[in-house]
Subunit: 215 residues, 2 copies
């Protein structure tokens, strides 16, 4: 008897991700899967993004956490379309969880969905959700060595964000070191630098989103 | 036919953890399992701890990372006893990996081993390594909501550390909120606050270690 547990899990996820992707295409929705360490600023970025783009695009949010609705509560002040997924301990979202969350959203009125994955630089990387872009965000306080320490997420992401730039002067973060390591791992990915606190640099990020949105 | 994969993995880990624990006891070694998000400052804390305690205790270090020897290279300037474990993608250390690393250390001359687990607030929690204490470190820049977002690691840890206190004035971190949430989850755990950068508060941490060391 042959036991193929892991392969089946990933195959099943891939199949469901393709269904999600087909649904997004049919509904003309741009979907961004946002990954980072805990506390890098994913929720703050989502809120600032909605504030800047709200006159141009309807943005829905899917919040992934092991438990609690803490982030979703913050975000619902800025959009009606936020769904919380509690993974019950799992360190990443998967395509089936996403599909269930999508069933609770009004997809016909949305242009963009931002998925805030569980705060973790390792586990979410292997699970395709059907998104258009996987985006990893690092932050100044985490240090400049995250690409060295967690290569897969930097290799697999389509875009690299660097938050909390307002703190670079009082930190030891070496921007050249970070950028060179990212370039080694992922030569084609851009790095967008900003501070959600001051707002500096966010325009480049929202312009990137508008450029990626192709109905 | 009954398939019990998960249960067997955890049972096997538990058995190996007990073997590690017996070995530590036989050799009179205090073992600390240090957990945190990426970039909270585990490596810096280990270096500062060795600097402060080196005249009193011989400290060995086991470094856990998915790949690279980046942190071990930094630490080997401060101790001869550092072993790097590369998990090959896994988001946590397990007791078997630890046992293999122990085989490469001179346990007879060590008083304390600090294990730097893989940077992750979720996965390492469920895997006993045979340590005396599980210690979680949070940092100011990650925000005050980590206990709300990642309850299990705060529930299961014996001690809570809070690093980067030098940045609290320029952050939105609400110390009361953090402390109250920790107290709800884990009423008996102490919180030790410090800054590895300025050194403030580190004495309380090293005193805690010396108090925990009971040969």
């Amino acid at each position: 008897m042959k036991i193929e547990v892991v392969e089946n899990v990933l195959k099943y996820n891939k199949d469901q991700a393709e269904k999600n992707r087909a649904l997004f295409k049919r509904k003309n929705i741009l979907v961004l899967n946002l990954l980072s360490s805990p506390g890098a600023g994913k929720t703050s970025l989502i809120i600032e993004t909605i504030k800047i783009l709200k006159k141009k695009k309807n943005i829905g949010v899917i919040e992934g956490d092991i438990s609690s609705t803490y982030d979703a509560e913050k975000i619902k002040e800025y959009t009606d379309d936020v769904v919380q997924i509690n993974t019950g301990g799992s360190c990443h979202l998967n395509a089936t969880m996403l599909s269930q969350a999508l069933g609770k959203m009004n997809l016909d009125k949305l242009d963009i969905i931002i998925i805030e994955n569980v705060g973790n630089l390792i586990c979410p990387v292997g699970f395709d959700l059907g998104e258009d872009y996987k985006i990893v965000m690092s932050s100044i306080n985490e240090g400049d060595d995250k690409p060295v320490k967690y290569p897969p997420v930097f290799i697999k992401s389509n875009l690299i964000l660097l938050n909390k730039m307002d703190l670079i002067e009082i930190s030891d973060f070496k921007l050249d070191f970070f950028q060179n390591k990212v370039a080694e791992l992922n030569p084609t990915a851009s790095i967008i630098k900003f501070s959600c606190k001051t707002g500096n640099g966010l325009q480049e990020w929202t312009s990137w989103i508008l450029g990626a949105y192709k109905p």
